[in-house]
């Protein structure tokens, strides 16, 4: 008998729970068996199998070599450079992307035209080619870069080779390319914001820049953040293309060691492990940032994995108050539409 029934003063006799024979799924057990065999084979070949290389017996994947080099100084240096390139490339990409998106949506046809041509060029050519271009193309086309009045007298000039050092070429190449993709993401975000928001802000006397910064972009974030997270992860992987510009990032670092020691597969494994570690951290970060920007759009935040885990341990779901505390306590709890106002 439920509380409601009691409250209603009625007595309902509850029938016993149904006990039925569940449907059998023999196919599942066959699939489990097949997969178990395949996994066992893979683990065996990856971990236990030994092969003779030279006059020593090694694991097939060369895990010993992987272990030797995983934290080698040049590799760590490469990881650091990869992170630097990712951060700088994304920073240029995001700022450029916002700029291009705002230009694209501008009423000024010159600005929107420039933005369109930019996107056309940078999305229409491969990143590898662009990086190679920034690295060697510029110094070939303009061996002497000069500062001065356009078409007028030169004030100073210097060699492009000094200016376009590998790192600068890679940052520009990755950033400018990213800006084209970010522009589309930001534009979709801006367009996703209701027109009424613009009107409300205008009617309060807010100008276009203020409206964009305080009203439109924060709301566009909800649409912008998830694909931007993916872009960061792509960017991290795309930094490996910067080897073409002779930048000592992770891929280039392991390549140099592999070329010297002929341990090609183990060194590629070293690179994979580091890339996976970095992208995993980024994915977790993306989850929490998305959650932050859902604020105001959902009435009750979904629990974080940690809260779910604690809830599991406690054997009861976390209360809204606990969720609010875990989320930084800036979230009011939802009480429903209160009566009394009506």
């Amino acid at each position: 008998m439920t509380a409601q029934d009691e409250a209603a003063g009625t007595t309902v006799s509850r029938p016993p729970d149904i006990k039925a024979v569940p449907v059998r799924h023999p196919g599942r057990w066959v699939a489990v068996a097949i997969i178990a065999v395949i996994v066992a084979m893979m683990v065996h070949t990856a971990v236990f199998a030994r092969v003779k290389r030279g006059n020593s017996l090694q694991t097939r994947f060369g895990w010993g070599v992987v272990g030797d080099y995983l934290f080698a100084r040049p590799i760590l240096q490469g990881v650091l450079t990869t992170l630097e390139l990712t951060a700088i490339g994304m920073a240029i990409g995001i700022v450029g992307g916002i700029l291009l998106a705002v230009m694209r949506l501008s009423v000024n046809p010159v600005l929107s035209g420039v933005s369109w041509v930019y996107l056309w060029f940078f999305r229409g050519t491969p990143l590898l080619v662009q990086l190679a271009f920034w690295y060697s193309g510029i110094s070939y086309l303009y061996p002497q870069l000069s500062l001065g009045v356009p078409f007028g007298p030169e004030v100073t000039h210097f060699s492009a080779n000094n200016l376009i050092v590998p790192m600068v070429a890679a940052c520009i190449g990755l950033g400018f390319n990213e800006a084209a993709y970010m522009a589309e993401i930001v534009r979709a975000g801006i367009l996703s914001v209701e027109e009424g928001q613009m009107e409300a802000a205008s009617s309060l006397g807010m100008n276009r820049a203020l409206t964009m910064r305080r009203v439109i972009l924060p709301q566009a974030m909800r649409v912008i953040i998830p694909p931007t997270g993916n872009e960061v992860i792509s960017m991290l992987k795309n930094t490996s293309l910067a080897y073409i510009a002779a930048v000592g990032e992770l891929y280039f670092a392991q390549y140099i060691i592999a070329a010297r020691t002929y341990q090609i597969v183990p060194m590629l494994l070293v690179a994979c492990i580091w890339y996976l570690a970095m992208t995993s951290v980024l994915m977790v970060g993306q989850y929490y940032i998305e959650r932050h920007y859902a604020r105001g759009a959902v009435r009750q935040m979904p629990p974080t994995p940690w809260q779910k885990f604690r809830g599991l341990v406690r054997r009861r779901p976390p209360t809204p108050a606990e969720i609010a505390v875990d989320a930084g306590a800036d979230l009011p709890t939802w009480h429903g539409v209160q009566g009394g106002q009506h």
């Binding site: 009424g196 802000a201 604020r295 105001g296 759009a297």
Partner: protein, 255 residues
């Protein structure tokens, strides 16, 4: 009759491409007056409100708010278009309330109200906060200051929207069907706030189908149809004894 009218519209025309929406509107709203605009859908009520608030540019006629032209500046007998910054300054003096509230969803009720005074007028934050809290109390929502719009009912949202407009100390308030998107039982709480505002002497132009409101606080009701003012006058007279056929037909549908 000799004072500066708050809104003076003389033969206003407005077209969207080939669509001639306003076809010669003449109106006069005195300071402290409440004017209620009624009319069938598509008659141009929203467009007219948006013209008053510089959200649309008129094509012909003269429109002034508090003695100053809307959107233009008269210099040497010629009209010059206003710059964006001037338009923003003018808009800040006029409050507007929308049918769909248009609260900023990423800000709490209090932040919604504080945004424009702090960012546009650059008033000190603690002053703005105190004023915002007073306004929330005025619309009966002191306990909802830290709620996001998604956590408020429709009626509460609209009352926050009214408080947000009032926070700029407007000399004129425009309401575009403020209760049309509300459940019937929530309409009253919003109308109560508006009635109090009218009694406090705010100049208001209200587009609404709430004839009870028009009768109770309206100083004048204007019936628009097809981009023209068909009939206007004292609400009690126009609403009970309309002279024009089109007014009669419309009122028989909404009353």
């Amino acid at each position: 009759m000799t004072g500066t009218p708050m809104v003076l519209a003389e033969n206003i025309h407005k077209s969207f491409g080939a669509l001639h929406v306003l076809r010669g509107i003449d109106l006069r709203v005195e300071p402290g007056q409440v004017m209620v605009l009624v009319g069938p859908s598509g008659s141009g009520k929203t467009t007219f409100l948006r013209c008053i608030n510089h959200l649309e540019k008129i094509n012909a006629g003269r429109l002034s708010v508090d003695g100053e032209l809307v959107g233009y500046r008269e210099r040497g007998g010629r009209l010059h278009e206003m710059r964006d910054s001037e338009v923003c300054r003018k808009r800040a003096e006029i409050g507007m309330v929308f049918q769909h509230f248009n609260l900023f969803p990423h800000m709490t009720a209090l932040q919604n109200i504080m945004e424009a005074p702090t960012r546009v007028k650059k008033v000190r934050k603690d002053e703005v906060r105190a004023a915002a809290q007073r306004l929330l109390a005025q619309v009966g929502l002191s306990d909802r200051a830290d709620h996001y719009p998604s956590q408020l009912s429709g009626g509460q949202k609209q009352r926050v929207a009214i408080a947000r407009a009032l926070a700029m100390n407007p000399k004129l308030m425009l309401f575009d069907e403020p209760t049309s998107a509300l459940d019937p039982e929530l309409v009253g709480e919003v109308l109560d706030v508006m009635k109090q505002l009218a009694r406090d002497g705010m100049t208001m132009v209200v587009v609404t189908h709430e004839m009870g409101f028009a009768r109770e606080v309206g100083d004048e009701v204007v019936f628009m149809d097809g981009g023209l003012v068909v009939e206007s006058g004292n609400p009690r007279e126009v609403l009970t004894n309309p002279q024009h056929e089109r007014t009669k037909a419309f009122l028989s549908k909404v009353l």
